[in-house]
Amino acid sequence: MNRWAKHVHRLMMRAYPVGLRREFGADMFQLLVDRHRRDGVSVWRLLVSELGDAVVVAPRLRWEESLMSRFVMIGVAGAAALLAGIAVGPAATVPVVAGVLLVVVAAMRRSQPLPARGLGRRPVTLLLAGLACLTVAVVLGLTAQHDLGEVAWALFTALSIVGTLLTLIGGVATLTQRGAVAPPAT
């Protein structure tokens, strides 16, 4: 395998989801080397064949990976809605039911860890937004004491639920990003 072939292969690998690249990138390159050395297939023919494979397979794998991540997010959101609903009380029947449904939907799918990269700074933004919502809710609650009006009560409830959801989702995603350790991608 010459340097150019390696470079082209590395570029092609970018079509695949980051999870697959990290876990199997080296093995995928080794497979090419084996086919070249043991089967005597020319490097450029192998690369053309790999390109065809990538065009067909990579979009499907990317879709599957994003779908899996989505189900993790749905599960976390459901759990957060459930907790928030229980904390708020009987008035929060809708969030409780929605939370239970979301957790069930997520549990029916086999989940996998969130991708270590690819979310950018979004998790931190979500976390900060969630904490901001909770802060406003607490300030609102402390200011009004027990005399929350109807509008203020609705605002307090909404901020509490949204804040809890965003904090949990952002927190979990941030921790997952930082905790992820994987071999380098090829």
């Binding site: 697959l20 199997f24 390159f29 790999e50 397979v57 794998l61 086999r110």
Partner: protein
């Protein structure tokens, strides 16, 4: 539910024993009479999914460490993978039998 063809080919390849990626690819080509040539994306995409689903697992020991590259990862069937493979075999066999009974295999297109 029918198993995807690529997954079934890998199950069949590993039914004969532990194999690494290249050996699986060679076995699939051989079993299919050269019709199926798995690219690296198809192969490792399927392997990843099968690992996630518990159909296969990475083998800790190399069949013969002295003869092979230690960096290679070997895979083997799990009990679940063997059961799924057997169920898919039965499904395909039943389909083939139905085709035979209805004379699809005998009187196909171009056969008088």
């Amino acid at each position: 539910m029918p198993v995807p063809a690529s997954v079934m080919y890998i199950l069949v390849a590993l039914a004969a024993g532990e194999k690494h990626g290249y050996a699986i690819m060679r076995d699939v080509a051989e079993v299919s009479g050269g019709v199926v040539q798995m690219g690296s994306g198809t192969l490792y995409g399927s392997i990843k999914r099968m690992l996630d689903q518990g159909l296969i697992e990475e083998a800790d020991e190399r069949p013969d460490p002295a003869l092979d590259d230690q960096r290679r990862r070997y895979y083997r069937l799990t009990d679940r993978g063997r059961r799924v493979g057997a169920a898919e075999h039965d499904r395909i066999a039943a389909l083939a039998e139905s085709a035979r009974v209805r004379r699809l295999a005998v009187f196909g297109p171009g056969v008088s």
